[in-house]
Amino acid sequence: MLARIPPQTLRILALLFVLLAVLLFFSTQVPNYLNGRLFNRISSSVAIMALIACGQTLVILTRNIDLSIGSVVGFVAFATGSLITNNPDIPPILLATYSILLGACFGVINGVFVAYAGVPSIIVTLGTMALFRSALVEYSDAKSITTNNLPTWLIEFPNTQLFSIGTLQFRAAFVVAILVVIAVHFALTRLRPARKLYAVGSNPEAAEMAGINSKLVIFFAFISAGALAGLAGFMFLARFGTITVVAGLGFELKSVASAVVGGVNIFGGSGSVIGALIGAILIDLIDTSLVRWQLVSEFWREAVLGSLILLSVAADAVLMRRLVKWRVSREKKETKPEVQS
């Protein structure tokens, strides 16, 4: 039976298993752990990271990386906040569209440099990470957006309870994030243009030979990542209300971590946004739980997280290699490919 399941699905199942194990472990360590509040807390905070990790996954699939994504989130959150502060009558949909488009514009800048100027993405986005952040400092004049100046619909939006199952509340921000992830997942598995992300990441030379416009595909990946970061910026503004120049700082690495823990191959070509979502949830869960775990001092949280990332990636590499070997040997035994001569 194991041989029938595609490796990607197997990865997701393994991740869910780890998630369950972590939940069970902490429930024995932390009193009053498993309850609705835990779910509500995690789901609220993961909503933003899920979107960013999703965008990061699109970029990583093409063998690139976007380190500017945290700065984009911060800039968009601030710009959107100042727009609505000055024009409180802008309708919600328009405001969200503004955030997404603004994010996409940053993606265009990254995409032009990486895809068309041929500069390695780690260098381009390391530069734009600093540039976008400085732009935010300059643009904001070191002032902050505060909750008081934002319309109530915006502040209330992320915590609006859409429906609930028992004590588990499904809030708008989380539901939006899940819907986006599902939509992107559908695109990545079923839409031909999106499948080309995998092709380009899997074997760039072959993609070129097969007549795929790799540059356009990579450009598209960066724009999509920017747009998703823009939406995340909108959600960030709505959730926190108060936006300073450090908004979104560190999100870039956390998004890479989420993707990698979620089984996205850092060398491109394989992985799924569902995996990245679960990776984000897992990291957030452990982060939140460690705060409540008496045995571990706060200072060890980063170390535990770091170990988790190393462990999951190493385990994944070892297991997948074994799996592939095992399957190849099975297939060889089952079917000897022969010409019908």
């Binding site: 839409l191 031909r192 030979m209 399957r327 190849v328 490919p337 022969e338 010409v339």
Partner: protein, 500 residues
């Protein structure tokens, strides 16, 4: 006479000062297998790259079905019905077979229907005439299967001209025969097949016409019936090549330099035992999958064997890594130039000095650059490496010249035992003869050579003795005087003759 499918009309291509092609004209007819032969560097790859739109010609034009057409890139080539498959197939390892075939096929709209896609893939694969599950992930496929995927991809786009560039170089005899059948089968379906190969037997077997090129110029195009092997070789190299298959006298001495006894690596090979004398060339023959390379890697310390013993220069040794083996005086020339042999972006001189860098250091530990250049120039002269200078990145050279640089790297070490793994694969006949001379001269100077080769004429010409392996077992050691193609093949196939 029907309209030719494709006509290259006095195409020239210059790269800076280098003239890769001058006034090249080739005509391809429907339903023919058209072989193009020439030494490495003769311009075959340039022709392919122009036909597939990777390079643009400096002058001249291309006609498809009688109409002049600019092929601006791979996509445009596909639209004109031109596709190519290479020695190293271009597949997407993370995608399944069906998706590999249809990834750039936009005819079914934007939505992918996996089940239907697999059905269409199955139909194409059947048309080629092999069995392959379309839902398999490409990373687990054999080279032959990957090539089949590429051919299916070409077929999915109504290919009119299919270029096969050294398609059988990495295949076992059986797989190669399958591939040749596929090529003829496609020609039977109206496709013009361009077939490029260094295996002359192959060309006589399947092609209808042969074009010989040399130094970027068209030499001749003839129906295969009017071509002889000798005539073709003479045209290719521009000189007489009678000595290629000649066997020179053995220079083997009495001293045993390498003694291998019952060498076993569980699940891979078993009970390999042989002696190798100074001055001797011992060939290891066998089909792909015979595990010859694994034996070599075990001797070289890359994969430690499970049991058995190795005596080198009279001492029992157990190399646990290549470094200790190199220090003891063993060199291993890999079959995989790209991965294990050369640093492609680095200069020739840096590649040459790589394995012996310590000898290029001044007392202060600084690199003596002039010495590097001097040594590299020495090898460029003695091995006849064709290059503008020692600073040229190895990746810019043709395959045969890359191979010579790799040999230079190890020659510089002056080892007692040379292990050559398919040293002439994919290189032209002139370079091949030079490599053979080199191996002979190493032996004549008292070195020993273990030569792994899948090229039977080479094995017969070079081996003082021939060790034949089959699926991890040592079948026999044949003396040169008793070896014929038939005896070696009988052992390699385990007495069955189907795979010859």
């Amino acid at each position: 006479m029907p309209q030719p499918v494709l006509r290259m009309n006095s195409i020239s291509k210059h790269f800076g000062m280098t003239k890769a092609l001058s006034n090249m004209s080739i005509t391809l007819e429907a339903s023919e297998v058209h072989a193009i032969v020439g030494e490495n560097g003769a311009g075959k790859s340039t022709i392919i790259k122009i036909m597939t739109g990777i390079h643009q010609p400096t002058s001249g034009k291309i006609e498809v079905d009688g109409k002049t057409r600019k092929i601006t890139g791979p996509q445009a080539a596909r639209e004109a019905g031109i596709a190519a498959i290479y020695q190293e197939p271009m597949v997407f390892p993370d995608l399944d077979v069906a998706e590999n075939i249809f990834i750039s096929d936009n005819s079914t709209g934007v939505l992918v229907h996996p089940a239907e896609q697999r059905k269409r893939a199955r139909a194409l694969i059947e048309r080629i005439g092999i069995k392959l599950d379309p839902s398999r992930i490409a990373s687990g496929l054999t080279l032959a299967e990957q090539q089949a995927v590429e051919i299916a991809r070409a077929l999915s786009q109504d290919v009119r001209v299919l270029i096969m560039d050294e398609p059988t170089a990495s295949l076992s005899a059986h797989e190669a025969e399958q591939l040749r059948k596929i090529a003829q089968n496609l020609a039977g379906q109206g496709v013009a097949v361009v077939y490029i190969s260094h295996r002359l037997e192959e060309i006589f077997e399947i092609s209808d016409r042969v074009t010989v090129i040399r130094d970027g110029r068209h030499i001749s195009t003839k129906p295969i019936a009017k071509v002889t092997s000798d005539g073709m070789i003479t045209e290719m190299v521009g000189r007489d090549f009678g000595k290629y298959f000649a066997k020179t006298a053995s220079t083997a001495q009495d001293e045993v330099i390498l003694e291998v006894r019952n060498l076993t690596l569980d699940g891979v090979f078993e009970d390999i035992s042989f002696d190798l004398h100074r001055g001797e060339v011992l060939c290891m023959a066998g089909l792909v999958g015979a595990r010859r390379t694994d034996v070599a890697l075990a001797i070289f310390g890359v994969i430690p064997p499970t049991s058995g013993s190795i005596k080198f220069k009279g001492q029992t040794t157990k190399f646990t890594n290549p470094r200790t083996a190199i220090e003891a005086g063993i060199a291993y020339v890999s079959e995989d130039r790209r991965k294990l042999g050369l640093a492609m972006p680095m200069a020739i001189k840096s590649n040459v000095s790589m394995a012996t860098l310590d000898s290029f250091l001044s007392p202060l530990g600084l690199l003596k650059r002039e010495k590097e250049g001097k040594v590299a120039r020495h090898f460029i002269d003695s091995l006849n490496i064709r290059t503008p200078d020692v600073e040229t990145p190895v990746g810019m050279l043709s395959g045969g010249n890359q191979q010579k640089v790799m040999l230079a790297k190890w020659l510089n070490l002056n080892p007692d035992l040379f292990i050559f793994d398919e040293p002439t694969r994919g290189i032209d006949i002139g370079a091949k003869a030079e490599v053979h001379d080199l191996i002979r001269s190493i032996a004549a100077k008292g070195g020993a050579a273990l030569l792994i080769s899948s090229d039977l004429p080479e094995v017969l010409a070079m081996g003082d003795r021939i060790l034949v392996m089959r699926e991890g077992h040592q079948m026999s050691i044949v003396k040169h005087s008793e070896a014929t193609q038939e005896t070696v093949m009988m052992h390699a196939t385990g007495q069955r003759q189907e795979a010859i």
